[in-house]
């Protein structure tokens, strides 16, 4: 039997507002417990919500950037359930009339083709607080600082067919919300998290299988693993004559498995109704026009510009525009290094990215700033150093030994470009290797490499390679 998996993602992006969605308390991460939970966040008797203008603006930006319909009339509704991290006993969310509907995202697949993933809707809602399970005499502690932080819940169509596609889509959205500056994308702090709806069906079958929802997955790696585990689990179950039940599951990263959450389902009757403390959010054309003007250059536009403006390959442009920070870094290097875009691209995609990956840090934490890399590239261009020596300079800059010029000066890495000095070295090497000279002259061209190596060794790598080549050729053939 051949199975096909059908996946839809619900992504919760915390919006980067200063204050909460319905109160004027701070959304800053990491404060002492309950010090940023005001009367409204705590759901004290008598308090009322008032909507944050910026949350609406951010949702509208997202809607426009994904070609969605931004609703002229959207409504906040109450989702009723009891949970200790939900102070009012209901979450203010949007149900029937969300602010964003019917958009799409294009993702690139591994074989280089592209695929469109539909966005069903994106709605605004308030985040819940946090339950801390470390033991307080057998009790759980509740911190409501996060309660009321604005979330944009982005719901995809079930267009995704594999864990890899899911990750590609999630990365794409992750990059987009940062481009739009509506979410800091910090997954470790929970600013960007994902629920995955997974089902399987026989290939060719039209009807969808019963789905399981995997809750709160907070890294790309875990999304891939959790989905793959869940697909395998469901196929095993079905092939052994079992049945998939509709339920909520949790991904346990330590055991690399999903497991059923103590069924919340039985009481899963949320009794949505329009929040009578709030009125409909009305958006008009003029407002949307203003929002449109504030949209930054989006990944796709930037990629096309990089190809045409910097003559980059499609491959390089895709990588460099993968995140707004990386793209900005690259452009800053190009501007400050007198414009050799290809060289800058090679360094950013090559040595810099490799190093960032290895140390698992993001580009804004790189010890080699765009300025530093740019001034190093300038020294390559003006032949002060060779491309090879540049690698040493880069490593030294990374370890904090100063900027390019300082490293070159301190380590004496300046390239030897004095013809007579190079000639002297070459003469000596020709003199002491008569056998190889013989071979070369007899037509064994490969030996040429041996001579280059000897010269570079003698110069400690500092001889200008082009000059070495030219002089060697001339001397060997005379």
């Amino acid at each position: 039997m051949e199975w096909e998996s059908v996946i839809g993602l619900e992504i919760h992006a915390q919006l980067a507002t200063k204050s909460k969605i319905f109160s004027s308390a701070s959304t800053a991460y990491g404060a002492e417990p309950n010090t940023q939970a005001c009367a409204v966040d705590l759901g004290l008797p008598g308090v009322l919500p008032v909507v944050n203008k910026e949350a609406i603006h951010m949702a509208a930006k997202f809607g426009l950037a994904t070609g969605s319909n931004v609703s002229r009339h959207s409504v906040f509704a109450r989702k009723n359930y009891f949970y200790p991290d939900l102070p009012k006993g209901y979450q203010i969310s949007q149900f029937e009339l969300p602010i964003v509907e019917k958009g799409e995202m294009e993702i690139e697949l591994e074989d280089g083709s592209t695929k469109i993933i539909g966005i069903t809707r994106a709605h605004l809602e308030e985040d819940a607080g946090k339950s801390l399970h470390e033991d307080f005499h057998g009790m759980t502690g509740i911190d409501l600082n996060r309660a009321g932080t604005p979330l944009l819940e982005i719901v995809s169509e079930p267009d995704i067919r594999s864990a890899k596609e899911a990750v590609a889509y999630m990365k794409k959205l992750h990059s987009l919300v940062q481009y739009l500056e509506i979410c800091d994308g910090n997954m470790a702090e929970g600013s960007f998290r994902c629920d995955a709806n997974v089902s399987v069906r026989l290939k060719g079958q039209e009807e969808l299988g019963t789905r399981a929802e995997i809750k709160n997955i907070n890294s790309f790696r875990f999304v891939e693993r959790a989905i793959n585990f869940e697909i395998d689990r469901q196929i095993d179950l079905l092939e052994s004559g079992g049945e998939v039940i509709q339920e909520t599951r949790l991904y346990d990263a330590d055991k690399d498995e999903t497991r059923s959450m103590r069924s919340k389902e039985e009481a899963n009757d949320y009794r949505y109704f329009p929040d009578p403390d709030l009125l409909p959010v009305i958006i008009d054309e003029a407002y949307l026009e203003d929002v449109r003007k504030t949209l930054p250059e989006l990944p796709k536009e930037k990629r096309e510009r990089f190809i045409s403006e910097y003559s980059l390959t499609d491959y390089d442009a895709v990588i460099l525009t993968g995140s707004r920070d990386l793209a900005d870094y690259f452009e800053s290097v190009v501007q400050q290094s007198s414009g050799d875009a290809k060289l800058a691209a090679n360094w950013v995609i090559g040595d810099l990215s490799a190093r960032l990956n290895k140390e698992d840090i993001s580009i804004d934490q790189s010890p080699v700033t765009a300025d530093m890399l740019a001034s190093m590239l300038k020294r390559i261009n003006d032949k002060t150093i060779s491309g090879k020596i540049a690698k040493d300079v880069f490593n030294a800059m990374w370890s904090g030994e100063g900027d390019a010029d300082t490293v070159i000066e301190n380590k004496g890495l300046k390239q030897i470009t004095d013809n007579s000095a190079i000639e002297a070295m070459i003469d000596e090497i020709i003199a002491s290797n008569p056998q190889q000279v013989e071979q070369y002259r007899a037509g064994k061209d490969k030996v040429f490499g041996f001579f280059v190596g000897q010269v570079m060794k003698a110069s400690q790598g500092k001889a200008n390679p082009a000059q070495v080549n030219e002089i060697l050729k001339q001397k060997l053939s005379s």
Binding site: L42, G46, R271, Y272, P276
Partner: protein, 485 residues
């Protein structure tokens, strides 16, 4: 004999220096001590804070910066959050709740220099029409202590009727200001929805709740509304509209005023004695030059059914925050989370509150939403449209506030539906968000009868004018129960 005076009269005595706010406050505190034991109209008396506020008011008066309400004692319904003072909402759930903040209305009254004597008794979470659902026991009607004062603002109504306070605040979700005002023989105004901030007023049904003044006269209500009304940035449903001086139009004559009498308000359910009093009041208006026009509000009979979907639905959600976690009652030794929720709520909510939470929960639950909640919202529109149409031909609508006079304590407690039907004339006004006032219009079997006047949105000035003119030619609002003279 300060207690027989209206706010307007007390205000003059204070400015002229004939009495100080401290003296006035002491006099009323003394009356509460003497007379409220049986009446039970107060849950909390805040003597120390009252005297401190009175002293401050006297200083303001001496400094010459006093306003019309500076130094005048009054009481808040115990539904308004008062900082550092117990705010119980008539419930065991909040018996231990010392509010950490002030409601906007509380702030505004303090800013006006008024002196809070205490917090008045009420039906639990404002759910009731008789004040019998209060955790603190029923309030008695000063006109007959065997009878209910009405509700839910029964403590406010009874305390004003007994002249234990010159005025009080109330809230009205389905008649909770107008009905007790009617049953206790005082004047009570429910303003247009959105006119007075709901911030800090413990929510019963958010799309219906509105705070308003309860006092001896329409003029006093105008003075109080001047202080209470206004835009509040903390309430999304508060209206950004200038607050007029509600006393400005009080003396306009009523010549040519078009009064609509909805035939549905004089139907079979109306007590004959009440009908007679209302007829006389209408006659009085005719004599003052008003034109009487019979109108129809055809969906009147649906107001109670619609209300008992909308209000319970909203309350079932509004009262979810009372879960024993952050404030309020918590059961002893909960076994687990579910036990904490169920017992805290089960032990601390009274039967009527539980009933309404359950009706609302049911009406919103999967499979029933369309048949109940959505249907009710559609009928709400039709009820509201009836009024819109009526106000195309009339200036105000008049009728009884309640189908009967105060009933006996215990008479309707076993049959919630018969209790609900006693709000039949007031409920539609909340569904439509309109302003309404109840004024004393006479007596039937020695119990007060209230005339209800309804106006179009934001026409409180007109309502107060129409009520005041009647009170200029009648003395019903000046009547005090014998035991409290």
């Amino acid at each position: 004999m300060f207690h027989t005076k209206t706010l307007a009269e007390l205000s003059q005595l204070l400015t002229s220096g004939e009495v100080s706010s401290v003296e006035l406050t002491q006099a009323f505190l003394q009356r509460i001590k003497q007379l409220d034991t049986d009446l039970n109209s107060f849950i909390t008396v805040t003597e120390d804070q009252a005297l401190a506020q009175a002293q401050a008011a006297d200083d303001t008066i001496k400094a010459g910066t006093a306003g019309l309400l500076t130094g005048i004692p009054f009481a808040h319904k115990d539904i308004f959050c008062t900082r550092d003072i117990k705010t119980s909402c008539g419930s065991k759930m909040l018996d231990n709740f010392i509010s950490p903040y002030d409601a906007t209305v509380v702030e505004k009254m303090s800013q006006a220099g008024m002196v809070m004597l205490g917090k008045t008794n009420m039906d639990e979470f404002a759910m009731g029409s008789s004040n019998e659902t209060s955790y603190y026991g029923p309030v008695k009607n000063p006109w007959n202590t065997q009878s209910v004062p009405g509700g839910s603002s029964g403590g406010s109504a009874a305390s004003v009727a007994a002249r234990l306070t010159p005025a009080a605040t109330g809230t009205d979700t389905g008649g909770s200001i107008r009905q007790p005002a009617s049953l206790c023989g005082i004047t009570g105004l429910k303003p247009t929805y959105g006119r007075v901030s709901r911030y800090g007023m413990i929510a019963f049904a958010s799309s219906l709740d509105q705070a308003g003044p309860m006092a001896q006269s329409a003029e006093d209500c105008a003075l109080l509304l001047n202080a209470m009304a206004g835009f509040d940035r903390r309430d999304s449903t508060s209206i950004k509209k200038d607050v007029p001086d509600y006393t400005a139009d009080l003396n306009k004559d009523l010549n040519g005023l078009k009064i609509g009498l909805p035939k549905e308000y004089f139907d079979t359910g109306l007590d004959a004695g009440v009908a007679e009093v209302i007829d006389q009041a209408i006659q009085q208006y005719k004599d003052m030059g008003a034109e009487i026009i019979e109108i129809s509000l055809p969906n009147t009979h649906l107001a109670v059914p619609v209300y008992y979907v909308v209000a319970p639905a909203e309350c079932s959600s509004n009262l979810s925050r009372f879960d024993g976690v952050r404030f309020g009652y918590r059961c002893e030794d909960p076994r687990d989370l579910e036990d904490l929720y169920k017992r805290s709520r089960g032990e601390a909510f009274g039967a009527e509150v539980k009933r309404r939470i359950m009706v609302g929960t049911y009406a919103l639950s999967a499979g029933y939403y369309d048949a109940y909640y959505l249907k009710a919202q559609q009928l709400r529109r039709m009820i509201s449209d009836d009024f819109t149409k009526a106000f195309e031909t009339v200036d105000v609508i008049m009728g009884p506030s309640s189908p009967g006079t105060a009933f006996k304590i215990g008479e309707k407690t076993s049959d919630p539906v018969s209790m609900y039907l006693s709000d039949i004339y007031t409920i539609a006004v909340n569904l439509a968000g309109l302003p309404g006032i109840s004024i004393p219009a006479g007596f039937s079997n020695n119990m007060p009868v209230g005339l209800q006047i309804i106006a179009n949105s934001f026409e409180e000035s007109r309502l107060l004018n129409v009520a005041h003119q009647y009170q200029q030619t009648t003395e019903w609002h000046r009547q005090i129960p014998d035991a409290f003279i």
